[in-house]
Symmetry: C2
Subunit: 147 residues, 2 copies
DNA sequence: TATTGTTATACTCTATAACTATA
DNA sequence: TATAGTTATAGAGTATAACAATA
């Protein structure tokens, strides 16, 4: 097995997932990437933008652009952080929670298909393998890069 | 195991791969997506744009935008197809082949890390699982979509 | 000094729709 | 009629760099 094949298979699977998700959510005017932000915000009452950067694997500037779009549509709100006045906390609005629930239902089939493509026991193994791949790729210097 | 976790793990792994690849190739002014196009062109002498759309999992318009960028930089060339005058064949130029070889060497560590994150026998299993996921997601109608 | 977030800016990828030309 | 590719257009995500305010 060659590394390039694995890279291409990973790319193809992710793009298929991403496009299928985008297609389902297009009617609601929410992108797959924005859905990831909304989903992260359901896991905790309020997160700082910094937290969200980590959870969504996004660049701070990219995240900000997405938050502004979501804020403009009334799905999220940003408030001053209670104790750290540099930070802002992000949370879902009532409208955002409602929109998310609908999007979650609409995307149920995608998650089902994802799982249906695998033997039941394989899914959790796959997740841990993907996480090991992430660990191997991030937080380690690139060849020839300045430390 | 929940489908959402799998989706998020897939996303995280792909983005890590994509960003690491982009970072390595940035000095050469080639993006990770353009690298995929160049790599596809090494597999066969000449491909039509249609062929490339399939091989790179791209939209025709997206692919065209990338080809124009690559053509402007002298890495690929497009010629009329020999027998189908609607089509154009795309191929690497001498400069493109040389650039690709360099990029391939520079990205060797990424592929090694990808494989190093897994047990040797697991890589091929992973590839086939990813392909089954793709098969489960594409070429089947979305719930509620018009046929 | 390091961190959080903003501003300004630019480019690539992405895709829809209408179109031409050819098979 | 279907297919290959183009044109026009728009938007989303991506990221770099310089910056202000605060920890």
């Amino acid at each position: 097995m060659r590394g390039h094949q694995l890279a291409m298979a990973l790319r193809e699977a992710y793009l298929a997932l991403h496009r299928r998700t985008d297609a389902i959510m297009a009617r609601s005017g929410v992108t797959a990437d924005q859905f990831v932000v909304l989903a992260s915000l359901t896991e905790q009452i309020a997160l700082t933008q910094r937290d969200l950067v980590v959870r969504t694997s996004s660049d701070p500037n990219t995240l900000r652009a997405m938050l502004i779009l979501l804020e403009r549509r009334g799905l999220i709100e940003r408030r001053p952080h209670a104790t750290d006045s540099r930070a802002r906390t992000v949370s879902l609005t009532r409208k955002g929670r409602s929109a998310f629930r609908k999007l979650w239902r609409q995307s149920e089939t995608v998650r089902q298909r994802l799982l249906a493509a695998l033997d039941p026991d394989d899914a959790s193994v796959l997740v841990s393998q993907l996480r090991r791949i992430v660990a191997g790729l991030v937080n380690s210097p690139v060849q020839g890069e300045l430390s």
